[in-house]
């Protein structure tokens, strides 16, 4: 895919209202994150401690990092570029990308598109009173190369990524540990790294490095296994009455984000492109698309939402400031990827056995795909299915919730938990199916059990019902169930009755 990237150099400095000639450093957590050109000339670099930066540059102005402010200041640029083409993805304040194919055809070539985008952005910045360096615009195959092309203001021809990338130092790959190791091995440029055979890189440096190797080969698009999902997973919240305050809307957005992230997480997916739609009672709407190839988690979704609100309320977006309260908030995972490929490699693991296993599992994941190899983790819940979850290999295991779960099925834990409950029939002495009344009383003692249409087995012992009324506060999500333990034949089962139907949830094998 041809990607255009627009990059505003030293955006944190520009957004804070300084010019390149001012000696300025933007600091977060006592470390420099960005410095103006004047400060860089005296040796101030990103990553320096504040004290060290101040000692290198007399008269250095130190300002704290203000991401919402940066996003707000960037909004005029986003709005101006969105006027050219609607599919604009903001990677972070100061950096945006778009699919260049359509608009390039429309505007008469990629060079023309670059100039047009640069002009629009420059005039939007000028109009907003920003005095930073002119933004860089570049086009290449794939986002990674396009990002570097923007720094040089180049249009990289189709299929020329590898040659374009070859001279860059390995540090641009964004993995300092790997870059350090490669330099010690005498591999200083992206081109030299790309020359290594792919299987050896995978085998010796792990999956994370193999991903970067494909990037170095200019093939990041293929390996970024991100796809547009068939049914776009989304989560939303309606507000009635409308929400008038941003902090409250953002608070509600937290639940929306958590729901979306959780739904994706269960499928071993992570959102790499997030679309946030906000509507007001006066039918005004604001849609922005945010991107992060590393995956946007729930916290990051909320952060993007705050940025979007900030941009809208600053009045620089097309359509002006919203006039009514927010009635709808929707988050859509526009593009998703398996969590597996986003894992920092197993490299640097602990014991020999761990490394050997890690390599084998990396290999299996390569063979079968990200949703096939797992480890387990215990989780909280009332049913056997909820009490453990599969963690796709490579994803960090969630912490174990030690909360009590009143109403969870009694110990011991069943050794077989059927991935899909098995349909069953349970009848009493009169041959009629056993049901459970609303008050939790069984209609008869269970006498015979048949699983999945199989032969009848006499029930030798049973206990229950333990009723379970979950989410009773939500009419649609409410579930009323009753659990039984049944021993029949040689097996003992954990059964559930729901709407007069019996299921075998788990078996004590």
């Amino acid at each position: 895919m041809r990607v255009l990237t627009l990059w505003c150099p030293d955006w944190p400095v520009t957004a804070a209202g300084f010019e390149p000639d001012d000696p300025v450093a933007v600091v977060h957590a006592n470390r420099v994150v960005s410095a103006s050109a004047a400060a860089r000339a005296t040796g101030v670099r990103a990553g320096l401690r504040r004290r060290e930066a101040q000692s290198r540059c007399a008269g250095l102005v130190v300002v704290g990092e203000d991401l919402p402010g940066q996003a707000r200041a960037f909004e005029p640029v986003v709005a101006a570029v969105t006027a050219l083409t609607p599919r604009v993805e903001v990677t972070r304040p100061g950096l945006l990308a778009l699919d260049a194919r359509g608009p390039a055809r429309f505007l008469g070539g990629e060079g023309a598109l670059c100039r047009r985008v640069a002009d629009e952005a420059a005039s939007a910045l000028g109009g907003a009173g920003a005095r930073g360096p002119a933004p860089g615009v570049g086009i290449a195959d794939g986002r990674f190369a396009a990002g570097l092309a923007a720094r040089r203001g180049e249009v990289v021809p189709i299929g020329a990524n590898r040659a374009f990338l070859a001279d860059f130092p390995t540090a641009v790959l964004g993995d300092p540990e790997l870059a350090d190791l490669l330099v010690r091995l005498g591999i200083t440029t992206v081109g030299a790294f790309a020359d290594l055979p792919t299987p050896s890189v995978l085998a010796r440096f792990g999956a994370g490095a193999a991903r970067l190797h494909a990037v170095a080969l200019g093939r990041d698009e293929e390996l970024l296994d991100a796809t547009a999902p068939e049914a776009e997973p989304s989560a939303e919240a309606d507000f009635d009455p409308p929400v008038e305050r941003v902090d409250r809307a953002a608070f509600a957005g937290r639940a929306v984000a958590a729901e979306l992230a959780d739904r994706l997480g269960r499928q071993g997916l992570v959102c790499t492109r997030l679309r946030i739609e906000i509507e007001t009672e006066h039918a005004e709407s604001m849609v922005r698309v945010w991107r992060d190839d590393e995956g946007i988690g729930a916290e990051a979704m909320v952060e993007r939402l705050r940025w979007q609100f900030g941009g809208w309320l600053s009045g620089t977006a097309a359509g002006g400031v919203p006039t009514g309260g927010v009635t709808l908030l929707r988050m859509v995972a526009d593009e998703v990827a398996g969590t597996g490929s986003r894992q920092a490699g197993f490299w640097g693991g602990t014991s020999h056995a761990d490394r050997r296993a890690g390599r084998g599992l990396d290999r299996l994941r390569g063979m079968l795909g990200p949703g096939a190899v797992f480890t387990g983790a215990l989780a909280g819940g009332r049913g056997p299915v909820d009490r453990a979850r599969l963690v796709p290999w490579g994803e960090p295991a969630p912490g174990r919730p030690e909360l009590p779960w009143p109403g969870h099925h009694p110990l011991p834990a069943p050794a077989l938990v059927h991935p899909a409950p098995l349909a069953a029939e349970v009848v009493g002495a009169d041959g009629a199916p056993v049901t459970v009344s609303a008050r939790g009383h069984p209609s008869a003692a269970p006498v015979r059990l048949s699983i999945a249409g199989g032969p009848w087995a006499e029930v030798a012992g049973w206990a229950g019902p333990w009723t379970l009324d979950e989410r009773w506060w939500d009419r649609r999500a409410r579930r009323r169930r009753a659990r039984f333990q049944l021993v029949a034949g040689e097996g003992a089962h954990l059964c559930t009755v729901e709407d007069a139907r019996w299921w075998v949830e788990a078996t004590y094998d």
């Binding site: 290999r363 453990a388 009143p406 050794a415 059927h418 030798a460 003992a492």
Partner: protein, 241 residues
């Protein structure tokens, strides 16, 4: 251009050839009487089967083998109850799960035999003898233990040791009262060569604490019906906690 060899030499080679003195994987003391050696012999193939309790027994083998930092894997066991496994001592973060290997199960087991010390596998309905032979040879070469789960006969090759769980009796559940608390089972072993002599032990699987324990008083005749023993009087109150 860097030669492949330069990269290779960065990492100690990861072959699984067992070192002298580590030819055995640990096994639970209660299961030791079933084996010809004081542990699971690396490179051997076991089968675990039985009408009820086979999965729990499998978890016991995995849990003990992990005691010295080994990794294990379970292939084709989508219904494995992870909570029960954890209660039997399995380290879930060292257990690789490939619940649905599809048609590539033999390939998957091949990779795992190279990379972990114990692989539990439920072969699909039809397992080709050639696959079984190749995997057996590979496990022997790599020093991994393969445990075949499921009905005996699923595995077309002879196994070194066959474990069979039988006579399950549950305690704690009555008729309409109590809860399942513990189960006594008998495990029989039979096999080839040194394991040719049939052995059997009785054990609690699970014991009241969720683990496995010796049924010290295994000769006590158990009252009640086979499969479920009604001593609901001691069964405790079914309060979900």
């Amino acid at each position: 251009m860097v030669e492949e060899a330069a990269v290779e030499s960065l990492v100690p080679s990861g072959t699984g050839v067992p070192l002298a003195g580590t030819r055995l994987l640990p096994v639970l003391p209660v299961l030791a009487p079933l084996l010809p050696d004081p542990g699971l012999r690396r490179g051997s193939v076991l089968s675990v089967s039985g009408a009820a309790g086979a999965t729990s027994l499998l978890c016991c083998l995995v849990a003990a083998a992990m005691a010295e930092g080994s990794w294990a894997a379970a292939v084709g066991l989508p219904a494995l109850g992870l909570e029960a496994a954890a209660r039997l001592g399995v380290r879930l973060d060292h257990l690789a799960l490939v619940p649905d290997p599809g048609g590539r199960w033999a390939e998957v087991v091949g990779v795992l035999v190279d990379s972990v010390d114990l692989v539990a596998v439920a072969p699909p309905g039809r397992c080709r003898p050639a696959d079984a032979r190749r995997l057996t040879a590979r496990a022997r070469e790599r020093g991994a233990v393969m445990v075949v789960a499921g009905p005996a006969g699923r595995w077309p090759e002879a196994v070194d040791l066959r474990l069979e769980v039988g006579t399950p009796r549950w305690h704690g559940l009555g008729v309409g009262d109590g809860t399942l608390r513990q189960r006594s089972v008998t495990v029989r072993s039979s096999g080839r060569r040194a394991a040719a002599r049939q052995r059997r032990v009785r054990l609690w699987l699970p014991a009241p604490d969720g683990g496995a324990g010796a049924d010290g008083d295994g000769t006590t005749p158990l009252a009640g019906v086979p499969g479920g023993v009604g001593d609901g009087a001691q069964g405790g109150v079914p309060c979900g906690s």
